[in-house]
Amino acid sequence: MSVTLVQAVTMALARAMEQDDRVLLLGQDIGVNGGVFRATDGLFKKFGDRRVLDTPISESAIIGSSIGMAAQGLRPVAEIQFMGFLYAGLDQLLSHAGRLRSRTRGRLSCPMVIRTPFGGGIRAPEHHADSLESILAHSPGIRVVIPSSPSRAYGLLLSAIQDPDPVVFMEPIRLYRGSKEPVNDDGGGLPLDTCFVLREGRDVTLVTWGNCVIEVSEAADQLEEEGISAEIIDVASISRLDMDTIFGSVERTGRCVIVHEAALTAGFGAEIAARLADEGLLSLRAPVKRVGGFDTAYPLYRLENHYLPTTHRILEACRAVLDFE
């Protein structure tokens, strides 16, 4: 069946709930109303009010109670309506979910998932467009997973739910309904610790994740017309990061451009660039370039197209590394 990314999320949730009655969902307006982006559409009807819980506006309690449930044998999947609303629950997530295992020397764990839409492009300002992957990646014990297609959303979400550690599953807003692809509802998961090579190429490695695959693909198309072959790597698992795939690619291309939507300073691109400098220096034939959001709050709609990494800015960065001597 051909589905959108958000429908693939719904499919994966339904599959996980069918397979394992320890899986339950909680979040604001997710029950009868199916959630603001309709990611839980129909699940309340199918699984009932003991497994699909409508919560108050209490992010701290949503995440905190998920920790308690998870540590005592359940598999909660919580929805935070927009990633910018996660701040209100960040203490529970960073101070407790991520540390419970190490604090208790492995006696307790947190097999829980927090799903949250992130990123801009739908004309909603500030908090409604935040991308917080680097804040989360900076904190130990929390996996950060970002799908960029319906089939990866399906497979990665199933694996996230089965994973023994807490996972923040960041759903790219611009890709929610952007395109459809056939997804086989076979319950098959995808590995959480690997990048996905979306396109093979020889001349430059484009590293990205989430929403930005759109512009990165456009840039690669344009380069191809000019006879330049770009490899596209979708990192998908920000934490824990698969550097091997990136090293392998850069060994062949010698050039790397990293593209993300979050502000550039201390964005996750900086981590990848640092590791390339540390362990991949001799493969590089040009400095690593990063293209990202600006170091400001996410702006209002008239400016957002300017804020998001455009195909044009990605191409400029590619030219800079390709022309470097």
Binding site: N33, D54, G84, F85, A88, P125, H127, L303
Partner: protein, 313 residues
């Protein structure tokens, strides 16, 4: 109230014409709360409101052009088109900000109240919020602090029966989400008809009097209803039609007009007021439409105190 209704109806039209983009949250049906409190305030008092804050901003005397311009992202807007519908702010009118994060403004309002208390200015701070907000920690933290420090702040819960799409009663431990919790903070429960502007006004006056005489905060729950959905994206289908009908019959504006007529104010006078308001809305719309769009550079300024923040890439 008429100005609020006119302004927000126009905001809705402008959205349909694609002149206002993004989302926005209308207070159609809830005007009496903003109008009643706004009228009872002193000009130098502070207000904090939510993303549903067009009315609360307007009642402080902010010109319609500046509000509509902000919604349209124009240079004549309150924040030169940088804040948008969810962040309306006008310091000179005491509108200390609109907050898009549920509950975030309540502790901030307590802080503003402490500042007035410290400076002995007699200014009172009012914080508006919804029923759903009573379930986030910030609400409880702010109330406790306000009582402990006897702050001149008035917390106004507009109970419109729904958080976003979920009925508030389904997710709240008590029937009246604010009033029933007042006792937990040693406050008197105050539950009022938020669609009766006279009742709202009287209640506001009493709370301001209390705050100004140093007797500390009040928590007021005003029962009301939004005529439309939560935001632009929401047709509000989850609400039973009998409920909607019943509340439409309690329209604060229609009912107040009837009361005024009963008090002997003739239809002609009222009609003239209505026509004047409409003309003002039209004029503000045209002025805002003619205002230029701000330059892209404004996104990069005012990040730091030196005004700067060159975009770094």
């Amino acid at each position: 109230m008429l100005e609020c209704r006119g302004l927000e109806k126009r905001a809705y039209d402008l959205f349909m014409q694609n002149l206002v983009k993004g989302t926005s949250h209308l207070g159609l049906g809830q005007e009496a709360v903003a109008a009643g409190f706004g009228t009872a305030m002193r000009p130098d008092d502070y207000t904090f409101c939510t993303y549903r804050g067009h009315n609360h901003t307007l009642v402080r005397g902010v010109p319609m052009t500046a509000i509509l311009g902000e919604l349209m992202g124009r240079a004549c807007g309150l924040l030169r088109g940088k804040g948008g519908s969810m962040h309306l702010t006008s310091i000179q009118h005491g509108v200390m900000g609109s907050y898009a994060i549920v509950g975030a403004h309540l502790p901030i309002a307590a802080g503003a109240a402490l500042s007035a208390q410290y400076r002995k200015t007699q200014q009172v701070t009012t914080a508006f919020f919804g029923d759903g907000t009573t379930n986030i920690g910030a609400f409880h933290e702010a109330l406790n602090l306000a009582v402990v420090w006897k702050l001149p702040v008035v917390f106004v819960c507009e109970n419109n029966l729904y958080m976003e799409y979920t009925p508030i009663e389904q997710v709240t431990a008590v029937k009246n989400p604010a009033a029933d919790r007042a006792a937990a903070y040693g406050l008197k429960p105050i539950l009022i008809d938020g669609n009766d502007v006279d009742v709202v006004y009287e209640t506001a006056l009493a709370a301001y009097e209390k705050a100004r005489s140093g007797d500390g905060p009040s928590l007021i729950e005003a029962q009301t209803y939004r005529h439309g959905g939560h935001s632009r994206a929401d047709p509000g289908k989850y609400r039973p039609s009998e409920e909607v009908e019943a509340w439409l019959a309690r329209d604060p504006i229609t009912n107040y007009r009837a009361r005024l007529e009963k008090l002997g104010i003739d239809g002609e006078t009222l009609g003239r007021i209505e026509a004047d308001v409409q003309a003002a809305v039209d004029l503000a719309t045209e002025t805002a439409k003619e205002s230029p769009k701000p330059p892209l550079e404004i996104a990069g300024i005012d990040v730091w105190a030196d005004g700067g923040a060159e975009w770094r890439n």
